[in-house]
């Protein structure tokens, strides 16, 4: 009896040592992959930031109105953000590769899922960037046109244009990464429909006078602004 127990313990010990002998190299490999991945990700972040600096990405972000939005959202400047995105994508890739080496069956499909997700994530980021640029351009163009055209409430009008585009962009980005797709689409459709209906009712019933003034300003032949009353040249 005692002998059997001793044999079992010995066998368990042998198995443990064999498992450890098999696992330790994998663990070391995993740690090496993670460490090397971290170094490569850091290097790539530095390169991306340098290239972004050379391409004057921050100036472009300022020009297209992305920089103030990043500041408002408490995010780093455009070049640092780009570097951070590259860093995390690359390091996360290495991290998952390292974990894959450990051979945990429950984590087997994680790496494949991650690499399948990356293109969609990048596309969503691109959609967001384009959305920010377009929203800001449209906001500024609307604001300037409204101010120079003497349209009432220029900030409200331009702000509405910006948020409409941003909401549309956000919905598109979330739809791209398939996060709560049904909820996002339904919420967007309801919100957009409600907004359009509210604007139509407000403009049609409550804002007849405003509509009249806006339309009059759109046709300068019918009513010239004070600026058009003098010969500037």
């Amino acid at each position: 009896m005692a002998q059997m127990i001793a044999n079992a313990i010995r066998q368990a010990g042998t198995n443990f040592v064999e498992s450890l002998a098999l696992f330790l190299p994998r663990m070391v490999t995993t740690l090496a992959i993670i460490a090397v991945g971290w170094l490569i990700a850091m290097l790539l972040r530095t390169i991306v930031r340098a290239v972004a600096g050379w391409l004057r990405i921050n100036v472009a972000a300022e020009r297209f109105g992305v920089a103030p939005l990043l500041k408002t959202a408490d995010l780093p400047p455009a070049d640092a953000l780009l570097g951070a995105i590259v860093f995390w994508l690359v390091w996360l890739g290495f991290l998952l590769s390292g974990i894959d080496v450990l051979g945990f069956t429950s984590l087997q499909g994680l790496l494949a899922s991650f690499w399948a997700f990356v293109p969609r994530l990048l596309l969503a980021v691109v959609i967001l960037i384009i959305g920010f640029v377009v929203a800001n351009f449209a906001w500024r163009a609307t604001l300037l046109a409204a101010v120079n055209g003497r349209v009432p409430s220029p900030r409200l009008l331009s702000g509405a244009v910006r948020w409409l585009i941003l909401i549309l962009t956000g919905a598109m980005a979330l739809e791209q990464i398939a996060v709560a797709r049904t909820v996002v689409l339904t919420a967007f459709a309801i919100a957009f429909g409600a907004l359009s209906l509210a604007v139509a009712i407000a403009f049609g019933i409550g804002g007849g006078g405003i509509a009249k003034r806006i339309l009059e300003h759109q046709f300068p032949e019918q009513q010239r602004s004070s600026a058009d009353e003098i010969s500037h040249l």
């Binding site: 300022e62 020009r63 120079n148 300068p220 602004s225 009353e229």
Partner: protein
């Protein structure tokens, strides 16, 4: 029709000018008969595709249909050509065609007139041609006899800016009429401006700036009173076109104007005819009515364009009642120069930068018009001269910031 070589070529760009072009053509014919009877002359009408019969009016205007007794007749055939140009309708393409014709005919002197201004006289045409024909000037800028409160976009912005930058005291840098030599024509045709936005909408300003920057022998000539014809372009578009053209010229000619200090008066080849000019009946307060609201609305745009100090000045100004608004020369100069620097460094789309300046210009113009509405002409002239000097004084700072902005 073969025209051959000509001595004097007068170009009239048109686009739907049926109601105004006839007196211009008459003035040209009278000028040819009275002042250049022995010269080979030609009138070129470059039309941008008028659908109101403008080319027909030019072609059919009788040479003898002057309505006055001419004291002399031309001893040579007076050619008159009306031709459409191809491409985008605009002054640039029309002027290019006129200049090409001048080069082909080797015209000694060229004058370009504005088909919108019916007040042009034969003497005015001669005043633009003579300095080139007789005194070998390369470029003749017009000087209009008009009240100093007229043309505020010129007096408040373009004139002082161009004077401070280019170092020449040109009264009308953005005039659609001018005279020039064949040498200047050939130089202009060689430039790459014609297919650009500047060539399309800002060619009048570019011609003046190019003559100054490239050292062409230039002078000014007085023209008859300049009637304040209502512009066909809405204010917002007109302002954007003129200011963007001025900024674009300054960018093109930066190496020239950065080396210039102060300003020199430009020779007046012939003074404008004396006339009593009434001040314009403009209510300055109306222009400043929306200033406070505009500054508040545009704050987020302005803070990307102007310095904190200038923005604080604008905000302090916006807190005053429109009737008490005093937009000082110093603040206006800072505003214009900082907009120019923002245009150069491209902090946002350039047309957005220029359009953001329009409400501030209206505030400054309204403030100035109200301040000097009842002042004698000499006092207004002095105030405009002080503004020009303020622009000149601040130029050194502009150059320093210009060179460090990129």
């Amino acid at each position: 029709m073969a025209v051959g070589h000509v001595d004097v070529l007068v170009g009239v760009p048109t686009l739907n000018n049926a109601s105004t072009v006839r007196p211009v053509v008459k003035a040209v014919h009278q000028a040819f008969s009275r002042y250049f009877p022995r010269d080979r002359t030609v009138l070129i009408n470059s039309d941008g595709g008028s659908d109101d019969g403008t080319p027909g009016i030019v072609r059919n205007a009788s040479i003898d249909d002057t309505g006055t007794v001419t004291v002399s007749h031309s001893l040579r055939t007076m050619h008159r050509i009306s031709t459409p140009y191809h491409g985008v309708p605009g002054k640039g393409n029309a002027l290019r065609q006129i200049m090409t014709a001048a080069e082909l005919t080797q015209a000694r002197a060229v004058a370009v007139l504005n088909a919108d201004v019916t007040g042009i006289t034969p003497e005015g045409v001669a005043a633009l041609v003579r300095p080139v024909r007789d005194q070998h000037f390369d470029y003749v800028a017009p000087v209009y006899q008009r009240h100093p409160l007229e043309g505020p976009l010129v007096t408040q912005l373009v004139r002082p800016l161009m004077r401070a930058a280019y170092g020449w005291q040109v009264r009308e840098p953005v005039a659609p009429e001018f005279g020039c030599s064949n040498r200047f024509v050939m130089h202009c045709l060689e430039q790459d401006v014609w297919d650009s936005e500047l060539g399309r909408v800002g060619i009048d300003l570019w011609v003046t700036a190019e003559a100054l920057a490239k050292g062409f022998k230039s002078c000014q000539a007085g023209l008859s009173p300049h009637p304040a014809t209502p512009t066909r372009t809405p204010f917002g578009e007109l302002f954007a076109q003129v200011v963007e053209s001025a900024f674009a010229c300054l960018e093109r000619h930066a190496p020239y104007w950065q080396a210039r200090n102060g300003s020199e008066p430009m020779l007046m080849a012939s003074p404008p005819p004396s006339a009593t000019i009434e001040p314009p009946a403009v209510d300055g307060t109306r222009l400043t009515e929306a200033f406070a609201k505009d500054v508040e609305s545009l704050q987020s745009v302005l803070e990307s364009i102007v310095s904190e100090e200038t923005l604080a000045g604008l905000e302090a100004l916006a807190e005053r009642q429109p009737a008490r608004l005093r937009y000082s020369d110093a603040l206006w100069v800072s505003t214009v120069y900082e907009f120019l620097l923002a245009y150069r460094s491209g902090v946002m789309r350039r047309d957005h930068i220029v359009r953001a300046l329009a409400p501030l210009y209206l505030g400054r113009t309204g403030s100035f018009l109200r301040q000097y509405a009842t002042s004698p002409e000499a006092e207004v002239d002095e105030a405009l001269e002080n503004l020009c000097r303020e622009f000149e004084r601040s130029k050194a700072d502009l150059i320093q910031r210009w060179n460090s902005s990129r």
